[in-house]
Amino acid sequence: GAGVSQSPRYKVAKRGQDVALRCDPISGHVSLFWYQQALGQGPEFLTYFQNEAQLDKSGLPSDRFFAERPEGSVSTLKIQRTQQEDSAVYLCASSEQADTQYFGPGTRLTVL
C-alpha cells in the first residue's frame, strides 16, 4: 500500500526566504509527527498532531517554524525567514493511535 509521501524531496532556499514542506500520511493514520535530522545525527522531534489538533510543539526550534494539519490528513511544515542552521532533512511520520511510526522519504532543505 501507499506509504508516507513528502514533497518536495529537495528544496534549496536563499537565506530569508519562506519555505513550505508537505506531508501526506498513510490513509487513516490519526497521528502525524515532524522530525528534523541534521547531518550525521538521528532525527529530532519537532511537533505532533492527533487528527487536526497539534498536541505537542515543544520541539519547534523557534517561532519561525509553524506546522498545520487543518483537515486531519495532509500536513504542512512552514519555515519563515530561513537561516543556514535550518538546513537539514525534515521527516514526516504517521501512525495509528501513536503506535509504530512509519516514515516518509524526507525533504532535504538547503539554505544558502
Binding site: G3, V4, S31, F33, Y35, G40, Q41, G42, P43, E44, F45, Y48, L55, D56, G59, L91, A93, A98, T100, Q101, Y102, F103, G104, P105, G106
Partner: protein
Amino acid sequence: AQSVSQHNHHVILSEAASLELGCNYSYGGTVNLFWYVQYPGQHLQLLLKYFSGDPLVKGIKGFEAEFIKSKFSFNLRKPSVQWSDTAEYFCAVKARAGGSARQLTFGSGTQLTVLP
C-alpha cells in the same frame, strides 16, 4: 526527558561476521523500544520493536534485539551479516507515560559497512 546513546558511530564487518550494535537509554519509566534502518537512498524503515512480554524480539531480515531492563539496554544482533545489510541503524525510545509524550527519541545512529 529521555535520551538514547549509540556508542558505535561506524562499524565495519566482513560478510558472515556476527553483529551487535549497542543501544542504551535513560528514562526512569516504562518505554517502548525500536530499531530503525536506513538503507542508502531510502527512508527509515522499522526493523523491530519491543512493547512488552518476551524481552528477546525478532525482526525482519534475521535481526533480533534483547531488552535488558536492568541495564537500560536494547542491543541489536544478527548472527551473520550480508553485504546488503550495509546501512545506518537507529535505536529509538518512546516513553509510555500518559499525556502527549508520544514522540520518538533517537540515538545518533550507527553506520554499518559490510565488506563483500
